[in-house]
């Protein structure tokens, strides 16, 4: 295994980390409208991710930065090619971060309601668009001989990619509902479990369609294994949720996210961004990667930093391990 292969795996790990973590906090954002009955319940939901959403988002910055460093050609083609969807995602992430931090900083109801709308939409839109983006990466887009994206914005809106978007949207909502059930107390916890079942079933239908489509079109032996793991984990998550084992349900919904993302990366390899125009124009782990020297330095950095990050982020979740109910929300806001 050469260093650029290692880095392909590491980039996949960073995206898995991002979707695992930000997946449920996108889900929580979406649930503020689907699950919460009143504004106090909205606040219960928002506060389950309050201390952690920011750290979760850094997985995206790490994935972006690591792609820049390890596969500059991939970074350049992807970011310039998917220009408008990325612009929308950026706007959402900006507004979303500010919304969390500023919502409670004024008592006026209109102010707070505006930020609450913002939290919903800026969680929903990226949850959808990330799936569309990855659907397109896997499917292949119009890349020319100079590694430039030559398609249009509307080329990105094809049925396969849109189905991918719906899968991430529903899967993250399910993951979020399971997380809500794990982190809350009282009535909202019960309703979170019930909603998780409904969303989970919809997710199962969509995900099965998308993953089988992926497997039939461009799958291989290892991607089949990942697909089976994803499907089994999703079923297990639904089952665990049904019998009220919330910790297990969350672990399994997390494994579903991880295995589904892993499957996409496994169908990609050794490409990083295939060209739909000509196979010889594919961006691959070899023609898109940095020099071995840069990859070696990056490997040292990631090899040491990533486990440490996981340790202290894990510690954060342990510090805030207590469930939150409506009684924990102060009246002041």
């Amino acid at each position: 295994m050469q260093l650029h292969d290692v880095w392909f795996v590491l980039i996949a790990v960073l995206w898995i980390g991002y979707f695992f973590l930000e997946g449920f906090d996108f889900g929580i954002g979406i649930l503020t409208k689907l699950l919460a009955r009143d504004r106090r319940e909205k606040r219960v939901l928002i506060n389950t991710i309050g201390p952690v959403w920011d750290g979760n988002e850094v997985w995206l910055l790490s994935a972006g930065g690591a792609t820049f460093a390890a596969f500059p050609e991939w970074y350049a083609t992807l970011f310039s090619g998917f220009y408008l969807p990325l612009l929308v995602i950026l706007v959402c992430l900006i507004v979303r971060g500010v919304a969390f931090e500023y919502r409670a900083k004024r008592a006026e109801e209109r102010w707070q309601r505006n930020w609450e709308h913002a939290i919903f939409w800026t969680s929903l839109i990226p949850a959808l668009l990330w799936g569309v983006a990855f659907g397109n990466i896997v499917r292949g887009v119009k890349i020319d001989a100079h590694k430039e994206y030559v398609g249009t914005f509307f080329d990105l809106l094809n049925p396969y990619a849109i189905l991918g978007g719906l899968v991430t949207l529903t899967l993250f909502t399910f993951h979020g509902a399971v997380f809500a059930a794990l982190k809350t107390l009282g009535d909202i916890r019960e309703r979170a479990r019930k909603l998780a079942t409904v969303v989970g079933l919809i997710t199962a239908v969509l995900a099965l369609g998308f993953l089988i489509w992926t497997q039939l079109d461009r799958g291989n032996g290892t991607s089949l294994v990942a697909m089976i793991v994803a499907v089994v984990a999703l079923v297990a998550a639904l089952g665990a949720n049904q019998i009220g084992r919330e910790g297990w349900a969350f672990a399994f919904s997390g494994i579903t996210v991880a295995a589904a993302v892993a499957m996409l990366f496994l169908t990609l390899f050794p490409n990083v961004m295939p060209s739909s125009l000509n196979e010889s124009w594919n961006l691959t782990v070899t023609n898109a990667s940095s020099s071995p020297y840069t990859l070696k330095i990056m490997t040292w950095c990631a090899g040491i930093a990533t486990p440490v990050v996981i340790l202290y982020q894990g510690w954060t979740y342990w510090v805030f391990r207590k469930r939150i109910g409506t009684q924990h929300i102060a009246d002041a806001h």
Binding site: P51, G65, A66, A69, A76, S80, G97, Y293, A305, F320
Partner: protein
Amino acid sequence: MELALAPETLARWQFGITTVYHFLFVPLTISLAALVAGLETAWVRTGNQKYLQATKFWGKLFLINIAMGVVTGIVQEFQFGMNWSDYSRFVGDIFGAPLAFEALIAFFFESTFIGLWIFGWDKLPKKIHCLCMWVVAVGTILSAYFILAANSWMQHPVGYKYNAANGRAELTDFWKVLTQDTTLVVVFHTLTAAFLTGAAFMVGISAYHLMRKKHIKVMRTSLRVGLVTLVIAGIMTAISGDTLGKVMFEQQPMKMAAAEALWDKEEPAPFSVFAYGDVDKGHNKVAIEIPGLLSFLAHNDFSSPVPGINDVNKSEQEKFGPGDYRPNIPVAYWGFRWMIGFGMASFAIGLAGLWLTRRKFWLAPSLRTGDEEPPHLAVTKNKALGARFTKWYWSLAFVTLGFPLIANSWGWIFTEMGRQPWVVYGVLRTSDAVSPSVSQGEVLTSMIVFTTLYAVLAVIEVRLLVKYIKAGPPELTDSDLNPPTKIGGDSQDADRPMAFSY
């Protein structure tokens, strides 16, 4: 294509707007993190409640600020790929690494521990809570270091070779990128300027309250912390700026010649106080100068020659082929002056304040004040400023909170525009760096979207800051004064509302 709307021009405007905007928040974040951590340490060590109140007050303003810094920072990492894909392809092998280091080492630190700090008041023992802010502070400094190492490589590329086979620059010595003199001096200069910024912010707001005789106890302490930091940071900024100037005279003579509107080599070279010139003809029409000073700034003596714009342009033409290698000279010239002028003005106001508000040294007993009253502004041993001048000083001290922000912005505009037409000095031209696949319409769209969004957020942010500044430090509650003894919170009061919630 119309030059004003060429993708390169638009992409540069977008980079300028988003970066200057982002950098309004960065220096405040860097310095306030450390200052808040210092105040909280004082609370933990002394148990004096005024320090906890100060921690909460400045901490709140810090949080309002860092929220904007974090979200506008995401754009920074994405837009290299979006608008500057040819740049990313050419330099990714080198430039990507410090960016990835920043994310993996610094961002994770900051973002994770800021969450612990915000929500941790009733979940963490006070020593650990305080430690979280120190980790945030270290994270912000590491973050600055890696980003500035990347920027310094653009200013003065080292530790790389050009690979003709794949047409890109490749890293050969990462250690050199991290430790070259440009990096070290730029880091020193940027960090000291960041502390100047946070200190002026603290002085300005403390002065606002002291002028109104409100929240005196907390604001007196804050004023003192702010003034001392402002003066030390001011001296260090000047020293590091001087060192950086000498490095730049060496590495980018064009930038420094443009900063001085020095058209032709002079020996000794004068420092320009005011100049108005003709860029096309390459000379100044009006110039007021201090003889020999520029030679000193460049080489530490009053006689050495300094090459002018026309000389450097000619030598670059010989080296890189025909073309115009001059940056926008009025921007470089005035940017350099605004940077120094505003930075040093706030330093001077701080120095004056430190003298005027001294507590005992050379001060008659009648002018000494206790913790509960605003300090007299004592000019000499027995004489304090009258009511009118006192008000003037407090007003001036309040206004100074904006000065370093202006100075920082012009500093970056100067150093980035002064490097043009290069994006990587001597290696890659800015015109060769833009994304070929991105249309004019797309860049224009994103520029309008970001500019509008940033403008709206600026209004929201400033109004929120004003609200919390006016409110002053919060009254302390029982739970503030009785932090938990166990990690995760004490268990006896399971239904108590969270100390902080969104």
